[in-house]
């Protein structure tokens, strides 16, 4: 029976409505040698959307280093995988769910977690941790509080049910994210090296098995269309494309899929994410160089009268696609049944290289499989340095009036500790199960989370650990995207190093505005270049990542936000280090040097209401030596605590060590810089460590061999933090400023989620 194609007059109009450009439509006609059918057009339009095809970013991403001895799987699969020693491998990836979350924060964030977790167990790894990187407008409107509270509840609601600990993350509140919040979710999984699985279909005659939830109209054109268009008032119309997550179904999927892989029953496994069945099936087929023949009437549907194209592009959650040999079908379905999951044969692998979709006997789509995944156009977008940069960078913070009395500086320190961008995040992580699986050694609240490596369930524990941190200060990226992206990297590296982890590899989530605007694309390109240079200097590859464009509202782009998720390795997890001051009399040492760098600082924002100046400078060589120094010092046991200086500068870092340890400190200000710079400058390349006095010499020696400045600046003890003559605050004052901020802001009204009222 011949395929029913669209009318040649109508097809281009529909193509444009579906988000394709006219020349892209022409290309489809070229590939097919005819006008496409309705189903084909839908499938191409989604696969060639920005979200699925990376058509604007693909070239720039080639700047990233992706190789390394320990890389088992680089970008291109569902997640990157690195070898962490003793036969263990870690799979990880970060992904955005910004647009769905702006419409419905609870479900948007929840399904974001669900999606990234599926990417992990698809690789054959058991998900063992997740992190969340969040951006909202300032919390002074009910809308922002609603988004923030909803996203946190959704992340917890999903992850907690799965039994995957949420061990860290980050959050910033800036006006620039007011109309377009960012919800980036990162997940990590652990496996034995030999269990690494790829989503590569193979073996003509093999069966295509759809596992998990039923397929509905929810999310048709969801993530992919949402994420490929600007976000403005029209967003309201897109509401029905929001999906409700079912973490229980996902938990069953994790268990069933890992059991299937463990028993070696599958040829291939892939998850259904953006663009649903279309994306999952065509990627599997094109990786394997095979064809697929799928009958949509076989797909279990939860709604009546669904059209073939609806079934092919539905983004219904909690579904997986597997390829099995006919011999293993019964055994595979038995495993699914045991876990209470539906599993249905919906098609076969063929040797034609074509992706054929039928509705019963009728063929509704027939195209070369690889063209969906690989033949999307690749663009070279125009770039132009944004005009605003010259102006903001010319600003000199020293032209402002700064506090200089002890009283005023102490008050400023407390003001910073209470700033929503610095204050304690316990209100967030206490809503997340961060301990399940019993491997979280450093809980949220430290510089990086540290996890033991091993399978507690089977008692296969190793001595190793991993440390992980997600970082990006968008303000720095706004002021200088090249440097800002590097700071995201070096901060993540310092955080991981402060716990004893040696930086091993990163994932990223690049959140930007509309790439078709030359000024936006310039910031993107600069950020990628900055990040790539940082990775190269550290010898740390990028193994996975995600690009989220069109983060704009009413034509205004967010701050460039290239979030870095960095994973480090600890050879002996026992040696890990934490940030809190430990013992009276310990020497406090500053590694690195403070410069007068108040541009883009939290101080400038909180005290003067300004986002301007140049961000702090980055010296990649010094940064790398600093992290190596700290990792070595921690491993040799001479360091008792370590904490890096980030937002709020040295004074805030010291205060955080005091609050965490419940003990004070007396510190000398170095004295060559203005007091406000000594305290609040955000110079990079600095870590505060403490050592027992008898180890001071050893640390100095070690620092000298790394060429890192090493200055004893004070002593732990008492119940106040005294910094020279510049600041003097009590532990209680610091705690009262630092601890309650988020809860207070959120509860200034009740920003309840309707989901939270649900007691179903």
């Amino acid at each position: 029976m011949t395929l029913e194609t669209l009318s040649p007059e109508l097809a281009p109009t529909l193509a444009v409505e579906l988000g394709l450009k006219l020349d892209e439509y022409e290309k489809i006609v070229d590939i097919l040698g005819r006008v496409p059918s309705l189903t084909e057009l839908y499938m191409y339009s989604l696969m060639w959307s920005e979200h699925c095809s990376y058509k604007h970013s693909r070239k720039a991403l080639r700047m990233f280093p992706t190789q390394g001895d320990h890389v088992l799987q680089g970008p291109g699969e569902n997640a990157g995988v690195i070898d962490v020693g003793d036969g263990w491998a870690v799979a990880f990836k970060m992904e955005s769910h910004n647009h769905p979350s702006a419409i419905e924060p609870y479900q948007g964030a929840a399904t974001g977690v669900g999606g990234i977790i599926r990417d992990i167990f698809t690789m054959g790894a058991r998900p063992v941790a997740s992190l969340d990187s969040l951006r909202f407008g300032t919390l002074d409107t009910p809308r922002q509080r609603y988004l923030f509270e909803g996203a946190v509840a959704g992340i917890g609601g999903y992850g907690n049910c799965l039994g995957v600990p949420t061990v860290g993350g980050e959050v910033y509140f800036e006006e620039a994210y007011e109309g377009n919040c960012l919800i980036n979710a990162m997940a990590l999984g652990l496996m034995r090296k030999e269990n690494l699985t790829r989503a590569v279909a193979a073996g003509p005659g093999n069966l295509v098995l759809l596992i998990g939830s039923t397929t509905g109209r929810d999310g048709i054109g969801g993530a992919s269309t949402l994420a490929s268009q600007e976000f403005d008032e029209k967003a309201e119309d897109k509401r029905p494309s929001v999906q409700v997550g079912d973490p229980f179904e996902e938990k069953l999927l994790i268990e069933a899929c890992l059991e299937l892989l463990d028993a070696k029953l599958l040829v291939a496994l892939g998850d259904l994410g953006a663009a649903g069945l279309t994306s999952s099936a065509s990627e599997m087929a094109s990786r394997g160089g095979v064809g697929l023949d799928i009958d949509v009437t076989k797909v279990p549907q939860r709604e009546d009268a669904m059209m073939p194209f609806e079934i092919m592009v539905s983004e219904s959650q909690e579904r997986m696609l597997a390829v099995v040999t006919p011999e293993n079908l019964a055994a595979s379905q038995a495993v699914c049944k045991k876990w209470g999951l539906l599993s249905t044969v919906i098609g076969t692998v063929t040797d034609t290289g074509r992706f054929v979709v039928r509705e019963g006997e009728t063929v509704v789509a027939d195209m070369p499989a690889a063209t969906l995944a690989h033949d999307a156009p690749v663009y070279d977008p125009a770039m132009e340095r944004p005009a605003y940069l010259a102006e903001v960078q010319a600003f000199d913070p020293m032209t402002l009036e700064h506090p200089h009395t002890r009283e005023a500086l102490s008050a400023t320190l407390l003001e910073l500790l209470a700033s929503p961008n610095i204050c304690s995040r316990h209100w967030i992580w206490e809503q997340y199960d961060h301990q399940v699986m019993l491997n979280t050694v450093v809980l949220p609240g430290g510089d990086a989370a540290v996890l033991r490596i091993g399978d507690t369930g089977r008692g296969e524990m190793s001595e190793r650990g991993i440390a992980v941190s997600a970082d990006c200060n968008g303000r720095y990226c706004y002021l200088d995207p090249y440097t800002g992206a590097q700071i995201a990297f070096v901060e993540a590296a310092r955080n991981v190093a402060c716990t004893g982890g040696r930086p091993a590899a990163i994932t990223d989530c690049l959140n930007f505005g509309n790439p078709e605007k030359p000024e936006v694309f310039w910031t993107f390109h600069q950020s990628v270049k900055g990040l790539a240079d940082a990775c190269t200097a550290f010898g740390v590859p990028v193994v996975s990542g995600n690009v989220s464009f069109y983060n704009e509202s009413f034509g205004q782009a967010i701050y460039p936000t290239p979030t870095v998720g960095l994973v480090g390795v600890l050879d002996y997890v026992d040696d890990h280090c934490t940030m809190e001051f430990k013992a009276e009399g310990d020497a406090i040492v500053l590694l690195g040097r403070t410069r007068n760098e108040l541009g883009g600082s939290e101080y400038l924002k909180v005290h003067h209401g300004m986002v301007a100046g140049r961000p702090p400078k980055v010296d990649l060589v010094d940064e790398r030596l600093l992290t190596e120094l700290v990792v070595t010092a921690i491993r040799t046991g001479i360091v008792r605590s370590a904490h890096d200086c980030a937002e709020g500068g040295l004074a805030v870092a010291l205060a955080e060590c005091c609050i965490a340890g419940g003990i004070g400190a007396t510190v000398d200000a170095e004295g060559t810089l203005p007091a406000v710079a000594e305290l609040f400058s955000e110079s990079q390349g600095r870590i505060v460590v403490t050592v027992a006095p008898e180890h001071l010499g050893a640390l100095k020696q070690l620092a000298a061999t790394h060429g890192t400045p090493c200055t004893r600046i004070g002593t732990v003890g008492g119940d106040r933090l005294r910094i020279g003559t510049a600041a003097d605050v009590s532990l209680t004052e610091m705690r009262d400023a630092y601890l309650p901020t988020l809860e207070r802001l959120v509860h200034s009204d009740e920003t309840l989620q309707s989901e939270e009222l649900t007691d179903r």
Binding site: F248, K251, E430, D433, V436
Partner: protein
């Protein structure tokens, strides 16, 4: 000493319990919710998690699992049955323990380490002196214990209140200190006979100094000791 740890669809702390128990030097095995053979187990643990997604009510579906009728019989024989978190919720749904667990008062999930005070109780599976303060993590959305006045009075009389949320020094907070709003600061209760014990905190998360402290060890060692006493 062999603990049997039940897995329901959606359980997510069963591996943790097995690991903790092994770490303490005892044997443990997994029991599938569809199984009915409990022979060879000296104590049964219903672990934490979200059985059946916690949909309808926490524990409402799990209590109909085939294994549950065997567990009722096991408990009737006076043998140890412990429900942790979701396990506690299942035990109340199965009416093996009185009362019910509602949503936390603040409607927020809570994961943090709390202080618990051991009460003078009939519970046979906790052998620290009454008044002992233990630090153990909690991790739940529905830990707000409730029962009617009559039941509360009866539980007090029978010594069925085993653990209460308290301040670090063991005193009870004025006006209720339970983070979840639980009646009378109740964190754990037992049946009249003292052999069925349900608690919201997760002792398995506090059995290893590297991850969460060691106060949770008491719970498992006490069972092992009592079981050994009975056997000898």
């Amino acid at each position: 000493m062999r603990f049997g740890v039940v897995t329901f669809p959606g359980s997510n702390c069963e591996q943790d319990v097995v690991h903790a128990v092994n770490h303490l030097g005892f044997d443990a095995g997994h029991i599938w919710h569809g199984d009915t053979d409990l022979s060879g187990y000296d104590a049964i643990v219903l672990p934490g998690g979200f059985s059946y997604g916690d949909y309808i009510r926490c524990g409402a579906v799990a209590r109909f699992s085939p294994v549950m009728s065997e567990i009722v019989r096991y408990a009737e024989a006076g043998r140890p049955v412990i429900g942790i978190c979701n396990g506690f919720q299942i035990l109340t749904e199965a009416h093996m323990l009185p009362g019910a667990l509602l949503r936390n008062r603040g409607l927020k999930f809570i994961c943090k380490t709390v202080h618990l005070r051991a009460e003078e109780s009939a519970c046979r599976w906790l052998d620290v002196p009454a008044g002992t303060v233990l630090r153990v993590p909690i991790n739940h959305n529905e830990g707000n214990y409730i029962c009617d006045d009559e039941t509360l009075a009866r539980m007090r009389e029978n010594g069925q209140i085993v653990l209460r949320y308290c301040e670090p020094d063991g005193t009870l907070a004025e006006g209720g200190g339970a983070p979840n709003g639980a009646l009378d600061d109740i964190a754990g209760i037992c049946n009249e006979r003292g052999n069925v014990f349900g608690l919201m905190p997760h002792p398995e998360r506090a059995t290893d100094p590297m991850s969460g402290g060691t106060d949770g060890a008491h719970f498992f060692t006490a069972i092992a000791r009592r079981v050994a006493e009975v056997a000898s």
